[in-house]
């Protein structure tokens, strides 16, 4: 039997709610397999355990319970379990499982009251690592955008997917990043450096972006692309180093580093302040200062000698009449 959601396609015009009544709605259900599992979860949702390199096919039924012909979009999007709660990703956000899953038709034009079957196929890659994966097969209808603005309502109903991937594939992939720190290169460039460690069981190619915000006077910089110099082997660490423009104010800044490897995403935020620029001393200039000092000393000495000589001469002239 279908799970039917009937969010009526009412137009909301702010500030007053202008409502339109409707009947029926969009329904979706999983077609139970013959001799269906006793697991109640498996009667409502796509629940299975698969080995890497295998394929799973299930049938779902989608029903247009509205009073008018409707176009229904069918797609698979990511989901997650957070603190035991099943959390849908927004829109068509993908994850590993949704990227392995396809539907037979992505657009259905359903007459009023019509029902149609769709095939959902999951192709688990040979390299898939073991673990639980979550996604949702969605059927979505959208009210046409109101002319001249207002609220567009999008309604979707879905069948959850809980798939456990068994052993045999590539190792689990994971990494951690340390807090971004501010440094300066030997030539005085500001650098943001964060340590990245591969905590998984396979070599990862890691990249992402750095954003600096809440800087002096509300300044912002970025996103600046970041790429780890070389693929990171399991258990190994490497710094992610981002060289920035020398004219960048010292800070303080909020530095947000977001790195990913495939669908694995990690981020780290910290408040940073670039070290002072050390005054740069040109080679040999010390000798020059000494030379100038010596020259000045010499001039002073010469001036002193001249003064003494003049004083002596004057003294002689003054003495002469006395004799």
């Amino acid at each position: 039997m279908p799970l039917i959601a009937l969010p009526l396609l009412a137009g909301l015009i702010l500030p007053a709610g202008a409502l339109a009544a409707g009947s029926g709605g969009l329904g979706i259900r999983l077609v139970a397999l013959p001799g269906a599992s006793r697991d109640p979860l498996a009667r409502s949702y796509i629940v299975d355990r698969l080995s890497p390199g295998t394929t799973l096919r299930r049938t779902i039924e989608i029903r247009n319970g509205t009073a008018s012909p409707t176009q229904v979009a069918v797609y698979v999007a990511g989901a997650d379990l957070q603190g035991g709660a099943f959390q849908f990703a927004s829109g068509r956000t993908r994850n590993e499982l949704s990227s392995w899953t396809s539907v037979s038709r992505s657009i259905l034009n359903l007459p009023a009251g019509a029902e149609t079957a769709e095939t959902v196929s999951v192709h688990v890659p040979k390299m898939a690592s073991s673990g639980e994966r979550y996604a949702v097969v969605w059927a979505e209808i959208s009210a046409a955008a109101p002319a001249g603005g207002g609220v567009t309502l999008v309604n979707r109903v879905g069948v959850r997917m809980y798939l456990g991937i068994g052993p045999g594939g590539a190792g689990h992939a994971s990494f951690v990043i340390g807090s971004p720190t501010a440094q300066r290169s030997g030539s005085g460039e500001p650098l943001v450096v964060a340590n990245v460690r591969n905590t998984g069981k396979r070599t990862l190619s890691i990249g992402g972006t750095l954003v600096l915000y809440d800087g002096p006077g509300g300044l912002q910089a970025g996103p600046i692309p970041v790429k780890l110099a070389a693929p990171l082997a399991p258990g190994m660490s490497a710094p992610a180093t981002i060289a920035l423009d020398g004219t960048l104010p010292r800070g303080p800044w909020r530095a947000e580093l977001q790195l990913n490897s495939g669908f694995i995403e990690r981020s780290a935020v910290s408040t940073i302040m670039f070290p002072d620029v050390i005054p740069v001393t040109a080679p040999g200039s010390g000798d020059r200062i000494l030379f100038v000092f010596l020259l000045l000393a010499l001039l002073a000495a010469v001036a002193l000698v001249i003064l003494i000589v003049r004083e002596l001469r004057r003294g002689r002239g003054r003495l002469a009449p006395a004799i």
Binding site: M1, P2, L3, I4, A5, L6, P7, L8, L9, A10, G11, L12, I13, L14, P15, A16, G17, L19, A20, G25, G27, R29, P40, R43, S44, A85, F86, Q87, F88, A89, S90, G91, V136, W138, A145, P146, G148, G149, G150, V151, T152, L153, V154, N155, R156, V157, G158, V159, R160
Partner: protein
């Protein structure tokens, strides 16, 4: 939408109904996400963080619903959780409110509100 001081605009969205005909002990989650309210002519949008959703009174039949505390709709936020013991239905008429910042430029604002039920 033009004012020199912050205001709140609200309205009912229209009835949202969830009918669960799967039978047996089942659960479902209704979640909502909203985009920013963007004005025409183009100007600064009112971010989704300023949009709030209150499910209000829920009419239940054969289902127990729980409304988790949600503050804004920037992410996909669960608004009603249903635990059903058989064929059941629940319906509510949510109140949407938008905190309009001071000096929001006048114009017609558009947004998309997505309900997800699974």
């Amino acid at each position: 939408m033009a004012s020199t001081s912050p205001t709140t605009i609200s309205g009912h969205l229209g009835t949202v109904s969830v009918t669960d005909q799967r039978g047996g002990a089942t659960t479902w989650v209704a979640s909502v996400i909203v985009t920013a309210f963007t004005p025409i002519p183009a100007a600064t949008a009112i971010a989704a963080v300023n949009v709030h959703y209150v499910a209000g009174t829920i009419t239940e039949s054969g289902v127990t619903t729980v409304v988790p505390g949600t503050t804004d709709l920037t992410g996909v936020s669960p608004v009603v959780n249903g635990t059903s013991t058989g064929i059941s239905s629940a319906s509510w008429n949510p109140m949407i409110s938008v905190d309009v910042p001071a000096n929001a430029p006048p114009g017609v604002y558009s947004a998309t509100i997505t309900h997800s039920v699974a």
